[in-house]
Symmetry: C2
Subunit: 210 residues, 2 copies
């Protein structure tokens, strides 16, 4: 069984929990509070030198980091992970876009506005850039979703899951999606998938990191 | 034959040219000068709404964006692209790390210091962050390369190519690799691969975007 090191309120961690839920896979969950420094203890850094969650233990002592790489590992061989050459490249394209253009803006804004007390004041110098770049990324997504229901392979895949995580938190990070109707319809479409879980969904047993 | 939209001095574009060279694949090269706005013309934005190079045309009117997604498309089915489940996840992990932690710092510093006239002064407020975060990423890479010759699958793969692009430009972006001996040995190892090309290598025929 997988062990997932995750923070409940982290969008990157949510991607993995959502994928595992979609696939009906059981796992052991270890809650790591990065705000309390739990991802930078010597013990955790030995598992992941980058000091980040999510982190998936796939075999004793063997860990995969980076949320989107974990999605490919977990979903490999299922319809959520397209293996056709062009479909796979398109899914990867959107997942790299997510980590390079969306998450550094919407994710950063969400982190500082929604999770860190006083974060708005601490990061006031950066907010304009996050807003401008974040909206630019949302426009690229809107443009795509006007023509397609999903991001790759013509169906719901891990590319949608990757982009959903922070896009569905946009309103908590001051972004206004009123002028993005195709994105809003896609958010509803993803949330209507069978076995969908909300970000605050808790499995029955949660282990907390020490 | 592929058509590659590329900028000669772009590290992300170099990844694709290096991979194509490694595989001995012929391609048509279209040089796009992003500094002159050539990636934001209406014609180019129709091909790639993100307005970025590299961009690969894989069939008439069908384009793949995001350098690391292009690498998977081009190298798919060759030994450069590991397909074993855990090897693939590790290669992806390092490629997402590259786009999320290395390129936004080393790539940004390289762009403004080496390519943009007066860039150092324009971006002086951001340089400290790029240095601090860039060195943090280099330390994670050094730690890995002390134990392994390559980043994934125990051999030279597109994960190495992805990380090589901006790491081999580090000295042009003010980073000092003196205290990173394992990274310097790995840079030499990559450069010694058969069919390796330098970043300034030019194919015989280059078409320039209008």
């Amino acid at each position: 069984m997988f062990t997932l090191y995750s923070m409940q309120r982290s969008g990157n961690s949510y991607k993995v929990r959502l994928t595992l839920a979609q696939l009906g896979l059981p796992y052991r969950l270890v809650e790591v509070d990065i705000l309390k420094g739990e991802s930078h203890t010597p013990e955790f850094l030995q598992k992941n030198p980058s000091g980040q969650v999510p982190l998936l233990e796939v075999a004793p002592g063997r860990h995969i980091a980076e949320s989107n790489a974990i999605l490919w590992y977990v979903a490999g061989g299922t319809s959520l992970a397209p293996e056709d050459r062009i479909d796979r490249a398109e899914a990867l394209q959107w997942m790299f876009f997510e980590q390079h253009s969306l998450e550094p803006n919407l994710g950063a804004a969400y982190f500082w506005l929604a999770l860190v007390k006083g974060g708005r004041e601490l990061q006031s110098h950066a907010m304009d850039d996050w807003m401008e770049e974040g909206y630019r990324s949302l426009r690229v997504m809107e443009d795509h979703l006007r023509r397609s229901d999903y991001f790759a392979a013509g169906r719901y895949t891990i590319a949608d899951i990757a982009l959903y995580a922070y896009t569905h938190l946009a309103h908590r990070a001051d972004y206004d999606l009123d002028s993005f109707p195709a994105i809003r319809r896609w958010l509803d479409r993803v949330a209507a998938e069978p076995r969908h879980i909300a970000m605050d969904w808790q499995p029955i047993a949660v282990e907390t990191s020490q």
